[in-house]
């Protein structure tokens, strides 16, 4: 036992501070992956005890019982019972309880005891409990439960010392062969009996304060008020949008400038005649990966907000406030935050759908997330609007350009809600809506250390993806846009001789009904890597040299070469078109199958084509061409 490392598993109900305890124990050693075949996060890490023993920790998905009613909960049950293939049975189960709120966890403890594994109960947040006047007789409770109990304050340095010491003691002892599991899926009667027993133990060993947490009550009186609550939610969203779009901007500019400078540097230092490699490094590798990494500041911002609000206890309240409103479109209250994140980028939005436990609700949310106007569409919208929409005022005070922009956002939201309603009707008509039942935890001061680790883990995942899937897509697209190379002495930009141009010409007849010429068709191909790349690609096909400064020039050229009907058609195309290879890759990863990726691609393509067709022909019929 002293040589091999100890396998520890953390089990607990939601909101017990299990994740911050895990963060405190493992720090930056943690790895996030998926369990094979399912899209459930497997979080593991390691640490050494004071006596130098090595311990690996598995943070199992939160659950109220071992019944396993969602894929996450099944993982917890199967690992605890030792029947999960490819995952060793834990040597010691740590059941984490919120010391201020023992009622539901103690019932889980009683259920876990039947499994017969060595187990320890960790009363977390003991400091808050003491402050609130919750007095726990540890000896008595330990005796009633027949389990060792240790207290912890996951958020404080040294708050897990006792836990480490007890882990050492556990490892130093010799162990009898574990007992056979007595666990069977509990019936309602079992659950009730266990709850009564838990309530009896609490009555015997815990003195509760006379009044509940008054701070939470007072905050909720405002935050959950039917009117004030929605106003506050809107305010929080406003600040979040500001943060994502304005505060992240300097960092994004810096990244984007650095990548262009790096590309230029490589361009300059490479000797003449290395044109192909030079182009690959500058246009394929650096600008390709750069165009995705530029979104890192926004992704960090989004996750910072989400994790802060989650830790504070607000997320469950937001779901409460939005449940009925979202329900009108067949969405679950918990879909609200993922959809919100999708305004920055659909990738973190789709990743955030993991909070939705019902698979159908989660799939619907993933399907519509790419319709939310992500920030990559902004460069394309800005270019076309500034080139074609006059900066006049309507009704005296509304800027027409701004109005068009607002209209594009609104069109995205309305179409997302409609698609959700249709998906609900077509795909899950026979399934009644999933119930909405969740605990509203007491408010807690967010734990910055834990949040920092959370943001770091997300950022790492995003960068990893940018370095693998997205990179390979970029290389493919660069290849299509660069080969075959232009013949010597050829007129016009080299892209006109490439596979991309061939594809562009080939699909031009298909795009003619929606008003796209072959140049647009060619620009749409590199635009698959990331929507905003289409702007640069248009610059290339219209032979405009230069970086960002060229944007104005592109606008002027487009204004001469395109009709207004074509421009409007392209704007509408971008509301719907599945123009983002990385989003599609994330959908495949998160749903664990290619089917949903294909479904998303096809339905968005059909919508885009139909909407552009209507726009183009209506515009021409109205004589604006």
């Amino acid at each position: 036992m002293t040589t091999a490392s100890l396998r520890l598993a953390l089990v607990g109900a939601p909101n017990t501070g299990k994740t911050s305890l895990f963060n405190r124990l493992t720090g930056s050693t943690q790895k996030v992956a998926n369990y094979p075949g399912v899209t459930v996060e497997r979080k593991s890490g390691s640490f050494s005890t004071p006596e130098g023993r090595s311990v690996t920790v598995l943070d199992l998905p939160g659950t109220y019982s071992l019944r396993g009613r969602s894929p996450d909960e099944e993982i917890t049950r199967d690992i605890v019972l030792g029947r999960f293939a490819g995952e060793a049975m834990p040597d010691l189960v740590l059941c984490i309880a919120d010391a201020t709120n023992l009622r539901l966890t103690l019932r889980l403890v009683l259920e876990l005891k039947r499994v017969g594994r060595p187990m320890m109960l960790v009363l977390n947040m003991i400091d808050i409990a003491k402050r609130r006047g919750v007095d726990i007789d540890l000896d008595r409770m330990s005796q009633e439960l027949g389990l060792p109990i240790v207290t912890s304050v996951a958020v404080r340095k040294g708050g897990v010392d006792e836990l480490l010491k007890r882990t050492d003691e556990f490892m130093a002892r010799s162990h009898e062969a574990p007992q056979a599991s007595q666990w069977a899926t509990p019936t309602v009667a079992d659950l009730k009996a266990a709850q009564r027993e838990a309530d009896r133990i609490i009555a015997a060993s815990v003195t509760l304060p006379a009044k509940p947490d008054t701070l939470t009550t007072r905050i909720d009186a405002v935050v959950l008020h039917p009117v004030a609550g929605l106003v506050i939610l809107a305010l929080i969203l406003f600040v979040m949008f500001q943060a994502v779009f304005s505060w992240a901007q300097p960092a994004m500019d810096l990244l984007s400038d650095s990548f262009s400078a790096l590309g230029q540097l490589i361009h300059d230092v490479m000797p003449e005649g290395w044109g192909l490699l030079q182009s690959f490094l500058q246009n394929g590798l650096i600008s390709g990966v750069g165009s995705v990494i530029v979104f890192l500041p926004q992704i960090i911002m989004i996750f910072l907000f989400i994790l802060l609000l989650e830790d504070f206890g607000y997320m469950a309240r937001a779901a409460f406030l939005m449940d009925r409103i979202m329900g009108g479109a067949g969405l679950h209250g918990r879909a609200f935050i993922p959809l919100l994140s999708s305004f920055a980028c659909a990738i973190p939005g789709i990743m955030a759908t993991r909070v939705i436990d019902n698979r159908r609700d989660r799939l619907t949310t993933i399907l519509i997330a790419p319709l939310m106007t992500c920030s990559a569409r902004i460069p394309v919208y800005t270019l076309i609007i500034s080139a074609f929409v006059p900066a006049t005022s309507v009704w005296g005070w509304i800027n027409l350009q701004g109005l068009v922009m607002f209209g594009l956002y609104a069109a995205g939201i309305i179409s997302a809600l409609s698609v959700s309603a249709i998906a609900k009707f077509l795909l899950w008509r026979d399934h009644a809506p999933a119930p909405f039942m969740l605990e509203l935890p007491d408010y807690k001061v967010p734990r910055l250390n834990s949040i920092a680790i959370g943001v770091y883990t997300r950022a790492k995942m995003f960068l990893y993806r940018a370095g693998t899937t997205i990179l390979s897509m970029m290389v493919l697209i660069w290849f299509l846009a660069s080969f075959p190379t232009a013949p010597v002495g050829a007129a016009g930009p080299a892209i006109n001789y490439s596979f991309a141009a061939m594809i562009g010409h080939a699909i031009e007849p298909l795009l003619a009904p929606i008003g796209f010429n072959w140049q647009i068709a060619v620009a749409l191909i590199p635009g698959m890597a990331a929507r905003e790349v289409a702007v640069a690609a248009l610059g290339t096909v219209y032979s405009i040299e230069g970086g960002k400064e060229a944007a104005d020039a592109i606008g002027q050229v487009l204004a001469q070469k395109w009709t207004l009907a074509t421009a409007l058609s392209l704007l509408v195309w971008y509301i719907f078109a599945p123009q983002c290879a990385s989003t599609l890759a994330v959908i495949r990863r998160e749903t664990g199958s290619s089917i949903w990726m294909v479904v998303t691609f096809v339905y968005m393509l059909v919508l885009a084509y139909a909407a552009s067709f209507l726009t183009f022909n209506l515009a021409r019929a109205m004589g604006i061409s």
Binding site: V188, L191, Q195, A316, F320, L321, R324, P435, M437, P441
Partner: protein, 91 residues
């Protein structure tokens, strides 16, 4: 579980107003607007702490049709829809 004689003071939590405070008499999951099967609904409610004898109070309600509701059960707060709360018989 049913079986107790129905008293005239029985109220379904799903129909109660904000500010209502009382004690759970029993769960009756047979006739609710919930999409869950009666057994599943009963298990979930018990898992969230809705057991006979527990004190409940409706603290908050949503803006649309006063749904969902936030209920204090013993010393925790649970948000749920009125359709599921219909199963909770209180006095």
């Amino acid at each position: 579980m049913t079986g107790d004689p129905k008293s005239s003071e029985d109220i379904r939590l799903g129909l109660a107003d904000r500010g209502f405070s009382g004690k759970i008499l029993r769960l009756d999951t047979q006739v609710t607007g919930s999409s869950l099967s009666p057994e599943e609904l009963e298990q979930r409610l018990v898992e969230m702490g809705f057991v006979e004898g527990a004190r409940v109070e409706i603290l908050h309600e949503g803006a649309i049709r006063r749904d969902p509701i936030a209920v204090r059960v013993a010393n925790i707060t649970i948000a749920l829809r009125r359709s599921e709360a219909m199963a909770v018989i209180v006095e």
